[in-house]
C-alpha cells in the first residue's frame, strides 16, 4: 500500500472497502443508467444519429479537416511563440534594469489578459488595418492571440528553466572567461532546454484546447466549428459533441503522456543537471524569483 494516509487494510477494513466500492458502483451505475435512459427518451440513441460516424464521408468532409486546422493553428502558434518566449524569458533575466523591466511588463501584461480578448482584438485589427483576406483572417487572429499569450507563458517557463540550473554552472563559465552571451548560449540554454521540454509539451495541450475558442468566436474552421457544420447536416448534436470530445481527449492524452514520459526519461538521464520542470513546478517556482511581481499566472489551464 503506497499511501501514508491509511494502513494496509486488515480483514475487517477490507470488507468495509469492498462494501464502499459496491455502494459507489451501484450509485454510479444508477447514474449512468439514468443518463442512458434520458438519452433514450430524447431519442439520442437512434442509430441514424450515430451512423454518420461509421461512414467515411463524415470524417473526410468534416472531422479530419477540422482536426487538421486545429493542429495547424496549434503548430504555427507554437513555432512562433517558442523563440519569442525564449527571447523574453532571457530578457527578463538581463542585468540591465530597463531590459528586465520592459520584458517583465510585457510578459505580465499579456499573461493576465484572457486569450479570447487577444483573439477578438487581433481579428478586429486585421479587419481595419490590413488587407488579409477574410478567408485567412480567422487563422491569423487565432494564431496572433495564441502567440501573444503563450509566448509570455513560455517566457516564464524559459526563465524558470534557466533559474533551475545550479549557480555553479554560470560561475564556472565566468571562471573560464566566457562572456555573458556565451554563458547563456553555450552553457545555460542547452541545459535549460532539456529541463523545460516536459513543460513545453504540456503547454501544447493548452494551445490545442484554446484553438476551440477561435472556432466558436471567430468561425475558424477547427474541430469544434466543423462539429456544428456536421451536426447541422446530420441533426446529431449530442453524438457529434461526444465524438469531438473523445477526439480531443485522445489527442491531448497522447500529449500529456508524452510529456510525463519525457519528464521521467530526462530525470533518469545523466546528461542533464537533474532539474526537470513539469507544469506545476513552473508555476510554483517564480514566486522566489527576482524582478517578478508575479501576477497573472495560471498558464497550465
Amino acid at each position: 500500500m503506497s499511501s501514508v494516509l491509511y494502513d494496509t487494510p486488515g480483514p475487517r477494513a477490507k470488507r468495509r472497502y469492498v462494501l464502499f466500492s459496491l455502494g459507489f458502483a451501484v450509485l454510479f451505475a444508477l447514474f449512468l443508467w439514468w443518463i442512458w435512459q434520458t438519452m433514450d427518451d430524447k431519442g439520442q440513441l437512434k442509430w441514424a444519429l450515430w451512423e454518420p460516424f461509421t461512414t467515411s464521408q463524415a470524417w473526410t468532409t468534416y472531422l479530419l479537416p477540422g482536426l487538421v486546422n486545429t493542429l495547424k493553428a496549434a503548430a504555427i502558434s507554437m513555432v512562433i511563440a517558442l523563440p519569442l518566449g525564449a527571447v523574453f524569458g532571457i530578457a527578463r533575466l538581463s542585468d540591465h534594469r530597463w531590459v528586465r523591466g520592459t520584458a517583465g511588463t510585457i510578459v505580465e501584461f499579456f499573461r493576465s489578459i484572457p486569450v479570447l480578448l487577444l483573439m477578438l482584438f487581433a481579428n478586429e485589427l486585421y479587419v481595419r488595418s490590413t488587407d488579409v483576406s477574410s478567408e485567412d483572417r480567422p487563422l491569423y487572429a487565432v494564431v496572433t492571440g495564441l502567440v501573444l499569450y503563450n509566448a509570455s507563458v513560455l517566457a516564464e517557463i524559459v526563465r524558470a528553466g534557466i533559474l533551475s540550473l545550479p549557480k555553479g554552472q554560470s560561475e564556472a563559465a565566468m571562471a573560464v572567461g566566457l562572456r555573458k552571451g556565451q554563458t547563456m548560449s553555450s552553457i545555460l540554454l542547452p541545459q535549460a532546454v532539456t529541463a523545460m521540454l516536459p513543460a513545453i509539451v504540456s503547454q501544447l495541450v493548452v494551445i490545442v484546447k484554446d484553438t476551440a475558442l477561435g472556432g466558436v468566436m471567430l468561425a475558424y474552421p477547427e474541430l469544434l466549428n466543423e462539429r456544428s457544420t456536421l451536426a447541422a447536416n446530420y441533426a446529431n448534436v449530442v453524438p457529434s459533441f461526444i465524438v469531438v470530445g473523445i477526439i480531443f481527449i485522445i489527442l491531448n492524452f497522447i500529449l500529456t503522456s508524452f510529456a510525463s514520459w519525457l519528464e521521467a526519461r530526462l530525470r533518469r538521464s545523466k546528461k542533464s543537471t537533474g532539474a526537470v520542470l513539469s507544469e506545476d513546478t513552473v508555476e510554483v517556482n517564480p514566486a522566489a524569483v527576482r524582478g517578478g511581481f508575479g501576477s497573472g499566472a495560471g498558464g497550465g489551464i
Partner: protein
C-alpha cells in the same frame, strides 16, 4: 476622451465576470476538494473515479464543455437549471456549471499536490492515536495541505477569471461579449482593447499579489 464608452455598461459586464468567477470558484473548490479526497482514499473504486474524472475533463477544451452545456444539456436534454423561462439566467447558470466541472479538475490536482507536502510522520502519528481515514484527512492533512496550496490555488483562480470569458460563446453578457460588440460597432479599437485589458489586469493583479502574500504568510514553516 472616453466618450466611446457611452451607452455601454462596461462595469456591469465586468460585474458579471466577477460573479461568474466567484460562484465558479466556490463550486470548484468544494467539488475539487471532494475529488482530491476520492483520489487519496483507500477505496480503489473511488480512486479510479477521481483519476478518470480529472484525466478526462482536463483534456477537453473548456469551450467544448460550455458550448455543450448550452446546445446539448439545455436544448436537447432540457436541463434548464431552474430558469426555463429566463434565457439570460439559464445561460449564466450553465456557464457556472461548465466552469465548475472544468476547474475542479485543476483544483483537485492542486489540493492533491498539497497533500503530498504534509510529512509522512503526521499521518502516521494521527493513525497511531486511532484516528480513522476521514478524521486524518479532515483534522490533520487537509488543514495543512490547504495552507501549502494557496499559491497554486491562486493560479487556478486567476486562470478561472480569464476562463470566464469563454462564457461569451453561449452569449452570457460578460466582459468578452461586450468587448466583441463594442469593437464591432465603435471605431476606437485600440482604446476599447486597452479598457478591457486594463479591467482584467485590475481583476487578476491584486488577486495574485494578495494570495501570493497570504501563501507566504500562512505556509507551514518546516
Amino acid at each position: 476622451m472616453f466618450d466611446f464608452l457611452d451607452g455601454y455598461d462596461v462595469l456591469g459586464a465586468f460585474w458579471m465576470t466577477v460573479k461568474l468567477t466567484a460562484l465558479s470558484a466556490l463550486g470548484s473548490l468544494v467539488w475539487g476538494t471532494l475529488l482530491a479526497a476520492m483520489r487519496v482514499s483507500p477505496v480503489p473504486l473511488l480512486r479510479g473515479f477521481g483519476t478518470a474524472y480529472v484525466n478526462i475533463v482536463r483534456n477537453i477544451p473548456l469551450t467544448v464543455i460550455i458550448v455543450f452545456s448550452s446546445l446539448g444539456l439545455a436544448d436537447i436534454f432540457g436541463v434548464t437549471m431552474g430558469a426555463a423561462d429566463d434565457f439570460k439566467v439559464q445561460g449564466f447558470r450553465l456557464a457556472v456549471l461548465g466552469l465548475v466541472g472544468y476547474t475542479s479538475a485543476f483544483v483537485c490536482e492542486a489540493v492533491r499536490s498539497g497533500i503530498n507536502t504534509v510529512p509522512v510522520g503526521q499521518a502516521e502519528a494521527a493513525r497511531a492515536i486511532g484516528l480513522s481515514f476521514s478524521q486524518v484527512l479532515r483534522l490533520i492533512i487537509l488543514p495543512q495541505a490547504f495552507r501549502a496550496v494557496i499559491g497554486p490555488l491562486a493560479n487556478v483562480l486567476i486562470a478561472l477569471t480569464k476562463n470566464t470569458t469563454v462564457a461569451a460563446a453561449i452569449g452570457v453578457a460578460e466582459a468578452a461579449t461586450l468587448m466583441k460588440k463594442m469593437i464591432e460597432n465603435e471605431a476606437q479599437t485600440l482604446a476599447i482593447g486597452a479598457v478591457f485589458a486594463f479591467g482584467f489586469v485590475v481583476l487578476t493583479l491584486p488577486t495574485g499579489l494578495l494570495l501570493g502574500w497570504l501563501s507566504k504568510r500562512l505556509a507551514v514553516k518546516r
